[in-house]
Symmetry: C2
Subunit: 84 residues, 2 copies
């Protein structure tokens, strides 16, 4: 019996890597007079998946994150699981 | 005295709106034989900001989300705050 789990991936540039979109956003916020020091931007991905249990869903999530959902050269990701 | 807070925005297309990037990702994951039903993609934005207290930081976050960080026609956002 499988059930549905929701995986949430947070994918972002590795910490040493320049984030031009974040810098542009920081500059605009500063011009709008917000006391902002740093901005980083990344993407979230929510996946509904069938799995035997939460551990299985999370293992599939780690695999999908490495194979497709992140670029391992420039990006890192974290994935969390929740039963739906 | 102000201190630094981290705001985290999760911005995404409103729920009725088609997400072509999510659909394309779902199709690829299905071809890779993952039992995936639905995929939605959005962005996260992390902002370090000076504020008097957490409530003030969150109020600034709501304002920034509406004025700059989301497109109110197509997107919704949620923002959370954490002391740094």
């Amino acid at each position: 019996m499988t059930r549905t789990y929701q995986l949430t991936f947070l994918v972002g540039l590795k910490s040493g890597i320049l984030d031009p979109a974040g810098q542009a956003t920081r500059n605009v916020l500063q011009h709008m007079e917000y006391a902002v020091q740093d901005v980083r931007i990344g993407k979230w991905i929510r996946v509904a998946i069938q799995a035997d249990n939460a551990e299985h869903a999370l293992a599939l999530g780690q695999e999908m994150g490495q194979r497709l959902l992140s670029n391992p050269v420039m990006e890192s990701f974290e994935v969390t699981v929740k039963a739906l």
